[in-house]
Amino acid sequence: MATDSAIAETARPRTGRKLLVPLLSLPMLALFLPFLVVPLLLLIRISVGGGRIGFDGFTLDRFAAVLGDTYYLSALGITLLMALLTAAGCLLLSIPLAYFMLRQPRWRMPIIAALIGPLVISVVVRLYGWQLLLSESGPVNNTIALLFGDDARVMFIGSWSGVIITMIHTLMPYMCIAIFNSMQSMGSGVTEAAQTLGASAWQVFLKVVLPLAARGIMTGTVLVFSLSATSFIVPAVMGAGRVNTFPMLIYQEATELNFPSAAALAVVLLVLLLPLSALSTRGRNAA
């Protein structure tokens, strides 16, 4: 916009503005260049290298092995599908909840407490809790048996359902708070204004609130999808070894001391997920 640069110029000399960009990027680059970029390059180097840790030679064999093998590809597919289902589930549950929080200020504290509460306990303990809740003779199955008979008991642990439920529970807080933050920023006046102009509650929600919360929704989705696709402990325990995700394969290769293979798998996952995170902060005002 021509006006703001003109304004900035009247406020300060031009050179100040030119310096601002590199100056602002300094903190992040000071952290990332030595501690993320170089290890990442190391990872890529190992994935195409030969020898024991992967420092000698060059070979694309590992990538060919991964991409040509249905076993790896199906694990990749499982991982991405799981992430998709988790993100979709979180979205479906979080949007109404965030909207409810927006409209009912007195409910905000208890809901935020319920969202944050599970985060402060260790992941292992949270898994204990879900293992007990979802076991065949646990409260959830007992309720199902009460309503639909004993044969209706569901095997949650060791199947997708248990993994997805637990993953949604684990990641929903991040999604919900991101969306709520976004919805809040539009201010309370907007929804009231729309309603006085004659829009129904549904129309207000669909045409006003959702678009304005788009940024929060994007942020939340990318966060949840990425965290779910790289998670490893929850699928390992709740899947009881029958739901095998890509990160579990990576852990397996790493602990078998096959660092080059593990690196290759990580690079594949990175290549798939990175573009996703890049488009996260686009949305309205992509300025």
Binding site: A8, R12, L24, S25, P27, M28, L31, L36, V37, V38, L42, L43, L93, P96, R103, Q104, P105, W107, M109, P110, I112, A114, I116, G117, P118, L119, V120, I121, S122, V123, V124, V125, R126, Y128, G129, L132, L133, G138, H169, A178, N181, S185, A201, W202, G216, T219, L223, T230, I250, Y251, A254, A263, L270, L274, S277, A278, T281, R284, N285, A287
Partner: protein, 267 residues
């Protein structure tokens, strides 16, 4: 559908969600009063033995303190770095902006195990530094940075540059405009970013496991290995204490209206 029915449905939904979110916690707290040395639900008997054991467990206390210290240090650093980065990515155009944004978020899409191993390899083989508390903090900092950045940039994006520009037309420098005008409005989001970053670091297993330093074990790693070698409910008493601490903290924040910031942003 009338507004009252919708509101009622909303309340029922909110209640169901709260039950869903809190149910594992309820199970864990109930379990912590179990009398048996194995995990059974419903508990076969009641006892305070796990709390008694916890009170005498110095290792857990040390780990708890260590985890808090690492998380605090990592969070403060993450916020300090995320703020200028958010300003850069949201308010300014420059070539390579998308690449920088992708880089900033990349720790999220890397499995932590591999990030930790790559970091360890690099630290020991490349930099020839020994694993220390500082390298552990850097590891944590890397994985929580995307959280801080995402939440703060989201807020900044929603905020829009209008307020600061108004300040600038009134004669303030861009820096003053940012600090005095934009920051206060963004404080709730910064608080949210701090909270999530802290919790994510506190809870972290993979980085802490591989970048650990002998003598200082973080709480999640200790709990993870406990789960690997025993099957008693002792972990649930630790978690119950954490839940209680969290609840007290939230009550405290609520009382002093600090939470109002997170809960009621724009007035």
């Amino acid at each position: 559908m009338s507004a009252t029915i919708m509101r009622a449905i909303g309340k029922v939904y909110a209640c169901l969600m709260i039950v869903f979110l809190l149910s594992p916690l309820v199970v864990v707290v109930i379990l912590s009063f179990s009398s048996t040395s194995f995990i059974a639900f419903p508990p076969r008997g009641w006892s305070l033995r796990w709390y008694d054991q916890l009170a005498h467990d110095t290792a857990i206390r040390e780990s708890l303190l260590f985890s808090i210290e690492i998380a605090a240090a990592a969070t403060v650093l993450a916020l300090l770095i995320a703020l200028p980065t958010a300003v850069l990515l949201v308010r300014h155009h420059f070539p390579g902006r998308t690449a920088l944004r992708a880089l900033a978020l990349s720790p999220l899409v890397l499995p932590e195990v591999l990030l930790a191993l790559a970091l360890l390899l690099y630290i020991q083989n490349g930099l020839h530094i020994r694993p220390s508390v500082w390298t552990l903090t850097v590891g944590h900092l890397l994985v929580i940075f995307p959280f801080s950045l995402q939440l703060i940039s989201s807020a900044m994006g929603d905020l829009g540059p209008e307020l600061e520009e108004a300040g600038i037309t009134l004669g303030a420098t861009p820096i003053r405009a940012f600090w005095l005008i934009a920051m206060p409005v963004m404080l709730p989001s910064i608080a949210a970013a701090a909270m999530f970053s802290f919790i994510f670091s506190f809870d972290n297993v993979a980085i802490s496991l591989f970048l650990s330093v002998p003598g200082n074990v973080t709480l999640p790693v200790r709990m993870f290995e406990l789960a690997n070698t025993t099957n008693d409910p002792s972990l649930s008493s630790i978690s119950s204490v954490l839940i209680l601490a969290g609840a007290i903290l939230m009550a405290f924040l609520g009382r002093f209206k600090l939470f109002d910031g997170v809960v009621n942003a724009r007035q």
